[in-house]
């Protein structure tokens, strides 16, 4: 439609099914890796590794399945800002909890 402008693009990107199948296959492989990784003892690194693989999977889902790769900058900002605020929440709480001299009682 000719009435589109830069704020509201009239050409909408359609993802080819092939791309979805490829991403899906990678996600399955990463899932197998996550499960397989618990058989190896990396010590305290195990949790970090599991979270790292999960983050890669999440990034693939967000970028391709949720189509963020082709989203407008505003929509990207709107969505990714949530992770920034979550990060702030975690860091500020951590600064409090882990600099306490006494163990918190629950």
């Amino acid at each position: 439609m000719a009435s589109g402008n830069s704020d509201h693009p009239s050409e909408i990107h359609v993802t080819q099914p092939k791309v979805f199948f490829n991403v899906y296959f990678v996600l399955l492989v990463l899932t197998v890796m996550t499960v397989g990784a618990i058989k190896v003892d990396f010590g305290s690194f195990n949790l970090a590794l599991a979270m790292l693989i999960a983050t890669v999977k999440a990034a693939l889902v967000i970028w391709y399945f949720m189509h963020q790769k082709y989203e407008t900058s505003l929509n990207r900002l709107a969505f990714f800002s949530s992770f920034f605020f979550l990060f702030l929440f975690f860091i500020l709480t951590a600064i409090d909890v882990f600099t306490r001299k006494s163990f918190i009682q629950l």
Binding site: M1, S3, G4, N5, D7, H8, P9, S10, I12, V14, T15, Q16, P17, F20, F21, V23, Y24, L27, L28, T31, T34, V35, A37, I38, D41, N46, L47, A50, M51, I53, A54, K57, A58, V61, I62, Y64, F65, M66, H67, E71, T72, L74, N75, A78, F79, S81, S82, F83, F85, L86, F89, F90, T93, A94, V97, F103, I104, L106
Partner: protein, 217 residues
């Protein structure tokens, strides 16, 4: 909102928008802002998990033994598959292949159901064995003090997630009804995208829940 492909650009959008593209942009921003709220809501629980796990690692190490990795992994595959079929259905509507779109929406619906069925078996088994939150915990055995906390966190997080899966099932059903009524076409598919993005968030949350609860080393 259009129910068919209108011939003129004056009637392909609601009157308070300038154009179809403007209406679509506004809808997409709204959808992404909603996802922001979902991320911070689940995120709050994730942050809680992080602190409780670092302060009470023994209850996580004990509690996770009662979770079935096979069922958790199966549910992970089920949700990943449902994400694939959901994304495919959007692409098929965008290219006018409504039959394939409907098939994939049905597959997404079926996967969501399978997920809940597996969760039902998991939950009922725990309830039967007394593996319950807080002071409801009655499972006999050598458990650390406050073991009920693990199951409180487990049921809260997977339960909230399960509520979202159920909401997704309702939304996908709504999409199927609209699809069969002919509401969607390559020029109008916003609700399908909206539900699709929501569904991927549901999948995303589980991608983290699975290693956090089932794969504790």
């Amino acid at each position: 909102m259009s129910t068919s492909v209108p011939a003129d650009t004056a009637h392909d959008h609601a009157h308070h928008f300038e154009s179809r593209e403007h209406q679509y942009s506004a809808a997409k921003l709204g959808i992404w802002l909603f996802m922001l709220t979902e991320i911070v809501m689940f995120g709050g629980l994730f942050v809680g998990y992080a602190f409780l796990r670092s302060l009470y690692p023994e209850i996580f190490f004990d509690g996770h033994k009662y979770l079935d990795v096979t069922m958790g992994a199966t549910n992970t595959i089920v949700l990943l598959t449902s994400s694939l079929t959901m994304a495919l259905s959007i692409s098929y509507i965008q290219t006018g292949q409504n039959k394939k779109a409907a098939l994939n929406l049905w597959l997404t619906f079926a996967c969501a159901f399978v997920f809940l069925i597996i969760k039902y078996f998991e939950y009922s088994h725990k309830i039967h064995d007394g593996l319950l939150p807080g002071h409801f915990f009655t499972h006999a055995g050598d458990h650390p003090e406050k073991i009920g906390m693990f199951f409180g966190i487990y049921f809260m997080m997977t339960g909230l997630h399960g509520v979202h899966v159920t909401a997704g099932i309702v939304l996908i059903s709504w999409l199927l009804i609209k699809l069969y009524k002919g509401h969607f076409n390559p020029k109008y598919f916003t609700p399908v995208e909206g539900v699709g993005i929501f569904w991927h968030i549901v999948d995303l949350v589980w991608i983290f829940l699975f290693p956090m609860f089932y794969l504790i080393h």
